[in-house]
């Protein structure tokens, strides 16, 4: 027994290089294995996060605009809330990986993970970037529509004694620049102003013809008032035409999520 043990020890001592080599290889494998596991975990996390942001955004949109939620708050408020929440949650780019793993993008498959992640995150950003223009437009539109509706309401009962006052009310609307700030709403604002001026002039003509005794002048004034009021309907057409591309841009971005 003793002879065998001695013989073994001698064999081990006889191959010290092999022993060191084994230890080095073991350590290398341990470090390499750990690095490999951490790499895989990191890239999986990247990929997972790359889906998280757009998915969260998609969920926020579908929840806010679910049929049963319709009408609970204005569309502009919903959109702004979605954007703000997204920026709070995913303000930092989730596709950035730690420096020690970054070299791995030389592998095409790894590069694809990062490229896909960037694309997905950018698609989410594209949705949030489409929100401000649409939201501002909707806010301006709501303000302007309220002013127009108010003016119509206050002047609908105009009589021979206050056609002049009605003309003044429409003139005030035409001279109120505060209802719009967004560039996208500017064409609609121009149509509102033009129509308000036309209605104001028509009311003035009616008021003046009332004082006179010229039937033709009176008829012309009444016709011009009817034409001017018909023109007010064109505001809706212009507004729809302006709103559609903004909605299309937002929905197109949403589809890419």
């Amino acid at each position: 027994m003793k002879l065998n043990q001695r013989s073994l020890s001698r064999r081990r001592i006889r191959h010290p290089k092999l022993l060191i080599g084994g230890i080095v290889l073991g350590v290398f494998l341990a470090v390499f294995g750990t690095y490999t596991i951490l790499s895989i975990t990191s890239w999986q996390a990247i990929e997972k996060h790359s889906y998280e942001a757009p998915n969260a955004l998609k969920t926020a949109i579908t929840t806010a605009f679910a049929k049963d939620k319709a009408g609970t708050s204005s569309v502009a408020v919903k959109l702004d809330t979605i954007k703000d929440n997204f920026q709070d949650e995913y303000g930092a780019n989730p596709c950035l990986i730690h420096l020690v793993y970054r070299w791995q993008t030389i592998l095409p498959s790894v590069k694809k993970i990062q490229t896909d992640c960037n694309e997905r995150f950018e698609s989410a950003l594209e949705v949030t970037e489409a929100i401000p223009a649409l939201s501002s437009y909707l806010i301006d539109q709501a303000k302007a529509a309220e002013l127009v509706a108010q003016t119509i309401e206050t002047t609908k009962g105009a009589s021979s004694t206050d056609f002049g006052a009605a003309a003044g009310a429409w003139k005030t609307l035409a001279e109120t620049p505060s209802f719009s700030t967004s560039a996208e709403f500017a064409p609609v604002k121009a149509v509102i102003i033009a129509n308000a001026e036309a209605v104001s002039r028509a009311f003035e003509a009616v008021a003046n013809s009332y004082k006179g005794d010229d039937k033709a002048a009176f008829d012309t004034a009444v016709n011009s008032l009817q034409t001017a009021y018909a023109g007010v309907s064109s505001i809706a057409e212009t507004s729809q035409a302006q709103q559609k591309p903004l909605v299309d841009a937002f929905v197109a971005a949403y589809k890419k999520l």
Partner: protein, 225 residues
């Protein structure tokens, strides 16, 4: 043999590393959805202008609108009083709600081609309009309604002695002569103390009636309308 085994293990680990990264990861985005159409519809439906109904306010026709229009010209003959004042007062009288406008007519002054001509004439020129016209009074001859400048500026003796005002006389004389143009003949006082018919010759004699520059209800007719 052991060395070969270790080498094999190392290569396997490397292969595993590469394979693990290359292998497709299981996470997938959720499938295509139909929500985008609904989203688009909801966003486009936010159109407050479509809810606005800009109905044109009802513009009631002015009182004068449905009245027949009688046009007249204004002119003068010879040196007379202020023609502008004559024109203003005549128009006010003719369209006064107490006057002939109650026939549902409006009188409109025109530059030419009027239905009748209202003329402020010096007294001496009156007979030139008709043999029936005299230098003392106003008269109507065809489409010429001629107001005597002397009466316009001083009324008449009977009127003044009865205490009538010049303003009322002016109302009366314009209405009276236009009344002739409208087809009226002279009328008589209905009884002492009653309002004189407009077509009574109040300039000459009130015959017990009281001054009245406006047509009575019974006088509201015209053979011309």
């Amino acid at each position: 043999m052991g060395r070969k085994k270790q080498l094999l293990t190392g290569v396997s680990a490397a292969a595993l590393f590469v394979a693990a990264i290359i292998s497709p990861l299981s996470l997938q985005a959720s499938g295509a959805d139909n929500f985008s159409e609904e989203l688009s519809a909801q966003l486009l439906a936010d159109q407050p202008f479509l809810k606005i109904t800009p109905d044109t306010p009802a513009v009631p026709k002015p009182d004068w609108y449905n009245k027949a229009t009688i046009t007249y010209t204004i002119s003068k003959n010879g040196p007379v009083a202020d023609l502008a004042e004559f024109s203003t007062l005549a128009n006010a009288t003719l369209n006064d709600p107490r006057g002939w406008s109650r026939l549902n007519v409006q009188f409109k002054q025109v530059a030419s081609g009027g239905d009748f001509n209202l003329i402020l004439s010096q007294a001496s020129a009156l007979p030139s309009y008709s043999s029936g016209c005299s230098v003392d009074w106003s008269c109507r001859a065809g489409n010429s309604v001629v107001i005597n400048n002397d009466r316009w500026t001083g009324a008449s003796t009977a009127w003044n002695s009865g205490g009538g005002s010049l303003r009322d006389y002016r109302h009366m004389v314009v209405n009276h002569e236009v009344g002739h143009w409208l087809g009226h003949d002279h009328a008589s006082c209905g009884g002492a103390g009653q309002s004189a018919p407009l077509m009574q010759q109040q300039s000459i004699d009130l015959m017990g009636c009281t001054f009245n520059p406006w047509p009575l209800s019974g006088e509201l007719y015209s053979s011309r309308l």
